[in-house]
């Protein structure tokens, strides 16, 4: 387990002339639950998409468990942003979850009983069993998120990439999802999550990467999640109101609006 689950080397991505990610070097050690954090436009989603080969990098290299992504695809699971699909698409919850098996199924083959069983097991894990036959258009935001999570679970991956899995989710669902993620980590999987809420970082994650076009810092939450690093990430004007007492896990940053969106035009 000495090799990292994800190794990113010299990764640069540009949209047109504008660099979205600049010269990123990043190792994610296996068996960790890692947050990617940074202001809007910091390139969090783009980083995930570049790793998954969905956007072409201008330069750089991505390895998953010691080999290039194209060869290690079967080790990777993905939860895209909930808003990236049309939830009015005519299909059911069970059907969407089974899509997670399409890659392993191969061309032309139809999903059958095995895939159905796997999907039901995953739905059970996310507490959505009774919704299996439901139209996806009839789901709430939190339910949609759980369906996407179940779809990633049936991928049975070693490394998971999740783009804002807590977006539009109520507190209870958020806690339930976190428990699932921790369970994955405890079983040796690596989970990389785009996250927004500074308050919950210490509770949820053991590893963190702070990003703002460049990699600001990366490592264990206890070492990296510091006011100095947050200041560097969010524009240098983060003021902490909460007393810096390590026994309380709450950090309440107040942002100067100018500090936001450095990556956007």
């Amino acid at each position: 387990m000495s090799e990292p689950a994800v190794r990113i080397t010299d990764l640069t991505v540009a949209y047109g002339d504008r660099p979205v990610l600049w010269d990123i070097d990043l190792d994610v050690p296996a068996g960790h639950l890692m947050a990617i954090m940074g202001p809007n436009g910091a390139g969090k989603t783009t980083l995930i998409k570049a790793v998954l080969g969905l956007v072409a990098p201008a330069a750089g290299r991505v390895e998953i468990h010691g080999d290039v992504y194209a060869k290690q695809r079967h080790l990777v699971g993905y939860v895209p942003q909930r808003g990236s699909v049309d939830w009015d698409f005519p299909t059911t919850v069970l059907d969407v979850v089974m899509m997670g098996r399409y890659g392993a199924l191969g061309w032309f083959k139809r999903p059958g009983r095995t895939e159905r069983d796997q999907a039901m097991t995953a739905l059970e894990k996310v507490g959505m069993t009774e919704f299996a036959g439901r139209q996806i258009s009839a789901l709430s935001g939190g339910q949609q998120q759980r369906v996407f999570l179940a779809r990633a679970l049936v991928q049975d991956a070693q490394v998971y990439f999740m783009d804002e899995p807590f977006q539009g989710v109520d507190v209870r669902t958020e806690k339930a999802i976190v428990e699932l993620l921790k369970d994955l980590r405890d079983r040796g999987r690596t989970v990389v999550v785009v996250h927004h809420d500074l308050q919950t970082v210490r509770d949820y994650f053991d590893w963190i990467t702070l990003l703002n076009v460049r990699r600001i810092a990366s490592g264990p939450v206890s070492e990296v999640f510091t006011p100095e690093n947050l200041g560097l990430t969010y524009g240098g004007r983060v003021e902490f109101l909460a007393e810096q007492d390590d026994s309380t896990d709450t950090v309440e940053p107040h942002f100067n609006p100018d500090g936001h969106g450095r990556g956007r035009p």
Binding site: L52, T91, P111, S137
Partner: protein, 373 residues
Amino acid sequence: MIDLLTGLVTDYTLRTVALGSAALGLVSGALGAFAVLRRQSLLGDAVSHAALPGIVLAYMLTGARTPLVLVLGAALAGWAASLVVMLVTRTTRIKIDTALGLVLSTFFGLGLVLLSIVQRSSGAGQAGLDRFLFGQAAALVGDDLVTMTVLGALVLVALMLLWKEFKLLSFDPAFAGAMGLPVRLLDIGLTTLLVIAIVIGLQTVGVVLMSAMIVAPAAAARQWTDHLGRLVALSGFFGAVSGLTGAILSSLVPHLPTGPTIILVVTAVTILSLFLAPRRGLLAARVRKFRQRRQLQAERVLTDLYRLAAQHPEPAEAPHAVPVLRTMTSPSGVRRCLARLSDMGLAVPDPDGRWRLTPAGVDRARDILGGDA
């Protein structure tokens, strides 16, 4: 009716036209379902218009009017147009609608120019080409039918073989890509099938109206089902039935052009579906809204009655008269609402015509008012 059936069996022209129209409707309906789901309805319009220069060029280059040659020309031009659209949207800042508009008008304009050149320069041979503008089903012959059926069958078989890939591509292309599916190739593949489906229908329906055969059956079918397989099947069915009906109608009425008649039939199917479909239909939505408003009105009278009664020590024991209720927030239909509440067991009239809440009514009003109560 019997005449019609024997006509379908014995009359060569009617049979050919009817079968051809049904086949084109089936294939364009099935592929159109995917186009509509992927929000590419306009792509169908661009492709069909763009086919015109391909048809004319194919004729100019080969001098032949065999269906396969013309269809091939149409397909190549339509395909080129769709690739140009993809390329323009991917590499420039031009948005898809603008790109479609540009490509459609450029290709179609080119087609019209070429058509007029051909018509001026040669005599009889080209006469069949302008029928591709609005379609001329009566000119369908056995050869055309064979070409249409074979191509259509190929398209449908390919669609079934790649069903789960196309489904995932349509629903979540990013997930498909992360999984390792060749998204761009699949995109081109599905678009190619759409192009073939369009080209099949051009001779019958014409480049101008063909996009309706792509969009309308799918829009109609979407009203009736929430299941992708059934949606595609139903869309194909609507297309086929419209094609068949249009062909038969135009054979019954002299001088009724087949292509436009088919389009009118499929439009009628769509409009009926928009209104009548059980859950998504406008009529059902209207009924739902009406019921909801009735319910809200009744609840308002209920809470009014509660507010009045709440000023008395025992709310369920305090009746109030209708005119009093009218002065509250409920402006009209107070009696109707009270009758409804009485049906629901929430309020009862006293012999003197005044109304009081039942204990259930009191509970319900407290529920509705929540913290206000």
